[in-house]
């Protein structure tokens, strides 16, 4: 009789010890990711965590799966290479707000457009963490940083509008400290076929402690929907408001996204052609040839 496979536990997913600052939201994201993998009993050898550069980029090192810690802003193309080579693998992409929306904006735009199969987590601490406190694309106007000491000058990018505008097929927002809401959101994202865009409010106590007030929850609104949404996380946010939302309604999603960054839940969801599936279909429709005939049409 074949040996029964041991169930995956939280401990199995540990790798080297994290080196983030105390109180950093990346710790809770790491734990949530492991919990999600355990809940779904995902195979470690068939899971790849891909990241760019930043504090957020360190996640793959701490997950005992396969992983690539790639270049600043360039995790999307690397993830796509993995998906094209091995469409059977579970691919998670981890990227900071600068990594995603500044240096990597073009790749993210095209990752969304291609709608290839992966879960994309945008770790939004509204600051450049690893390079020590510069204004990022999502930094709130007025926040003094090392690069804009008299206060950040411009209005932040709204990541949900960004993803909606580009036609993302799955868009959700959650927060690192929301426990089950975070894990449930990952679950929904993972089960969606295509490029699942998940915005994660992430605490950076070191450089941007005011970005997210995780002790208070009256500022939070949860989008709920019985069939497609994520349950209200009363435990993590007892005073949060709840707003009914149908994630299949694009116009409504655009309107609700005006409330970002104070609003969490599944904004939008749509069945859409997936690039890696399209390529496979296209290749399958071509008559296969033997390399013996490779030069035939060039003979004179």
């Amino acid at each position: 009789m074949p040996e029964e496979k041991k169930a995956l536990s939280m401990k199995d997913l540990k790798s080297s010890d994290p080196r983030w600052c105390t109180g950093c939201g990346d710790y809770t994201i790491l734990v949530g990711l492991r919990k999600f993998m355990v809940n779904n009993q995902l195979e470690r050898e068939n899971t790849v965590n891909v990241s760019g550069i930043g504090c957020s980029g360190r996640i793959p090192h701490y997950m005992n799966t396969y992983g690539i810690h790639s270049l600043h802003g360039r995790s999307v193309p690397v993830a796509l290479g993995i998906v094209l080579a091995r469409p059977d693998l579970n691919v998670f992409v981890h990227s900071g707000d600068g990594d995603s929306l500044s240096i990597g904006g073009n790749h993210l735009m095209h990752g969304i457009k291609k709608n290839f199969n992966c879960v994309y987590l945008l770790f939004d601490n509204q600051i450049y963490g690893l390079t020590k406190n510069q204004t990022s694309p999502t930094t709130r106007k007025g926040l003094p940083t090392q690069s804009q000491p008299s206060g950040s000058m411009l209005e932040p990018i709204n990541p949900i509008h960004f993803a909606l505008g580009l036609g993302a097929s799955f868009i959700a927002s959650t927060a690192d400290w929301l426990g089950t809401h975070f894990v449930d959101t990952l679950d929904k994202a993972f089960k969606h076929n295509g490029f699942s865009f998940v915005h994660v409010a992430q605490r950076c106590p070191k450089f941007n402690p005011a970005a997210w007030d995780f002790q208070e929850s009256s500022w939070i609104t949860f989008l709920t929907d019985e069939t497609h949404g994520v349950a209200n996380d009363a435990k993590g946010a007892p005073d949060a408001k709840v707003l009914a939302h149908n994630p299949l309604d694009f116009d409504e999603a655009m309107k609700k996204a005006n409330g970002v960054p104070d609003i969490f839940g599944v904004f939008y969801k749509e069945d859409k052609a997936v690039y890696n599936d399209l390529l496979i279909q296209q290749n399958d429709s071509v008559e296969q040839k033997s390399r013996d005939s490779l030069l035939d049409s060039f003979i004179i």
Binding site: L71, I82, R86, E287, L294, F298, I299
Partner: protein, 604 residues
């Protein structure tokens, strides 16, 4: 009728008028008669520049020979040109033989009398033979019916007459080429061809005849980029990721049609950075992948090339060199990316650079690049150039390798690049090199320094160890390099060294110089980084060592290849030809330079 062994001619027309099509048809006709052909298309950098302007110069330079040739030769002996502006523009390139025969269409003379007079004077003053001709009225009428198209077929008729080719074969090839045209239009084109042919005899000019070869072996007609695309398939790559850029794009175009039929995937990326990122993601997951670009794209890929070095993920980048810096000359040739290929990316990022000498090399270089990249788990950069990528050649049908895993690379492929097999095991920085899906092999790769277990480590000992191992990989390649190809005298007064597409120029000029009794050798390198270990010894057998390069150099700046050779051998290598005009080097140019160099330095 003059029998000709080696002849160069050109057809020059406004862009969009089909000069290259006509050239292709003629070349196929020659090839069917067993003659060797080398074609260099002249292509403007813009798509359809206004006609009757110098920017609109387009056409084909064609060299035909009874011997195998792989360069465009020196000067054109025969020119057929559509109008005076193109001729005037082309005169600036100094590509005409001193006795060249120039057939110019005088159809526009009435509208541009003075210009025609000026250009005619320019040509006659240069001692060239100008032969005016025009399109007869019947044909003009047909061209009108074809909305101005078909002039190229009339010209093809003229050329076919002068080069004494079998019109029935040309007709078959025209029919094949234009098989998608409605029958009525096709017949009009054929008529134009025949009209041109019969008109030509009225010009009372000498005809030329090429001896046919009896060689029955199968031949193929390939340009460099097509050969490269086919080589990518033959060497077992399963993913090509690319972003359009001249002159590399045609590799992507070819593979878009071909790769899926051979079990592969073509991915058009959003930019060159993304393309190499996807290659690296694919290779990390165990699927061989490759990308192709030109100068500006190579600059963009440099950061990922460094990740490939550090994370020990193989990757292969083809760089088809064009004129630089910046946008430079997108449709002209140069050999100036040597340093960005060998020393690009930041930090110490050891890699391997392989160049191609000709179309056959383009077919086999993906095999060698894949072999080295996977064996050493590092980036390999292939350097082609505009000249090699876009010129066509007739060659004996290539032997396939049908490579699956890298150990199935055949010896004759490695021999072509003057290298032996690499050692069975090569040490890696990280002990575990498993790919996703392998149970128990879970690992994280990174651009950060790691120890042998693959964990991030900042200690000085560990960092030094990583550098050592990464460099050692390239040393293994160096150890596997055989003495590069040589020509002519094995010792003597002067050695001419070059790399990439100058091979046949070296071969041909050394042969000519040796025939003149001079003590000259030639040396050509394909793998240019690392350099073969015995170069110092080879160089020591000659009084002088000079390089020829399609790259700028002067008395205060050594050319790139000379710089590399100097640092490797401590021999005073100088750029004898250090020119970046956008045009390939000419054998006669090398012959003249070497002769005057020897006169000054040896026989003085």
């Amino acid at each position: 009728m003059a029998e000709i062994k080696d002849f160069r001619f050109e057809l020059l027309m406004d862009a969009g008028n089909g000069a290259q099509k006509a050239g292709d048809i003629l070349v196929k006709t020659f090839a069917k008669a067993g003659v060797y052909v080398f074609i260099e298309p002249i292509i403007p950098a813009e798509i359809s520049p206004p006609k009757r302007t110098p920017h609109s110069l387009s056409g084909a330079v064609i060299r035909v020979s009874s011997d195998e040739i792989s360069n465009i030769g020196s000067y054109s002996q025969f020119v057929l040109v559509e109008h005076e502006i193109l001729l005037d523009r082309r005169c600036d390139d100094l590509e005409f033989d001193k006795d060249a025969v120039i057939l110019m269409d005088f159809g526009n003379e009435r509208r541009a009398k003075e210009a025609y007079e000026n250009v005619s004077k320019r040509v006659l003053d240069a001692g060239l033979n100008l032969v005016p001709f025009s399109i007869n009225d019947d044909s003009e009428a047909i061209i009108k019916e074809l909305n101005g198209n078909g002039k190229n077929m009339y010209y093809l008729g003229l050329l076919s007459y002068f080069f004494t080719v079998d019109t029935s074969i040309v007709e078959i090839i025209i029919r094949e080429t234009f098989k998608k045209l409605p029958a009525e239009k096709l017949e009009k084109n054929i008529n134009l061809f025949h009209n041109g042919y019969s008109y030509a005899s009225s010009l009372k000019q000498d005809r030329y005849e090429f001896p046919s070869l009896i060689d029955e072996s199968e031949k193929v007609l390939l340009d460099g980029n097509t050969a490269m695309s086919l080589g990518i398939i033959d060497s077992g790559f399963k993913l090509f990721a690319g972003y359009p850029i001249t002159p590399a794009s045609t590799i992507m175009h070819n593979l878009a049609r071909l790769l899926p039929a051979y079990g592969g995937t073509l991915h058009q990326a959003e930019d060159e950075i993304s393309a190499i990122g996807t290659v690296i993601g694919s290779y990390f997951s165990g699927v061989p992948a490759i990308t192709a670009t030109s100068g500006p794209g190579l600059s963009l890929k440099q950061e990922f090339i460094g990740l490939s070095v550090s994370a020990e993920i193989p990757c292969v980048v083809i760089n088809v060199q064009r004129g630089g810096p910046s946008t430079g000359l997108p449709t002209r040739t140069e050999q100036t990316d040597l340093f960005s290929a060998a020393f690009g990316s930041h930090g110490d990022s050891p890699k391997v650079v392989i160049s191609v000498a000709n179309v056959e090399d383009c077919f086999y270089v993906p095999h060698v690049a894949r072999y080295i990249a996977e064996k050493c788990r590092l980036p390999v950069i292939i350097l082609s150039d505009y000249m090699t990528s876009s010129s066509y050649r007739v060659l004996d049908k290539l032997t396939l390798n049908k490579m699956d895993d890298i150990e199935t690379i055949q010896d004759f492929v490695l021999d072509r690049f003057f290298m032996k097999r690499l050692p069975d095991t090569i040490e890696m920085v990280k002990g575990n090199q498993d790919t996703p899906g392998q149970t128990g092999g879970m690992r994280r790769v990174t651009g950060l320094n790691t120890n042998e277990d693959g964990f991030v480590e900042y200690s000085s000992v560990s960092n030094q160890r990583s550098h050592e191992i990464r460099n050692q990989k390239v040393h293994h390649v160096k150890d596997a390099l055989l003495e590069p190809e040589s020509f002519g005298s094995q010792d003597g007064d002067i050695l001419i060294v070059g790399w990439g597409s100058t091979r046949s120029v070296i071969e041909e000029s050394v042969q000519k110089l040796s025939e003149k009794g001079l003590s000259v050798g030639g040396c050509h390198l394909k793998i240019v980084y690392p350099l073969a270990p015995m170069l110092k010894e080879v160089f020591s057998r000659y009084k002088f060592v000079v390089s020829i390069e399609v790259a700028y150099g002067d008395s205060m700046k050594y050319t790139p290849f000379a710089t590399l050779l100097r640092s490797e051998t401590l021999v005073d290598v100088r750029g004898l030809i250090a020119q970046a005009t956008g045009r390939p080097l000419k054998p006669v140019q090398v012959v003249e330079k070497v002769e005057s160099f020897l006169k000054e330095n040896v026989n003085a």
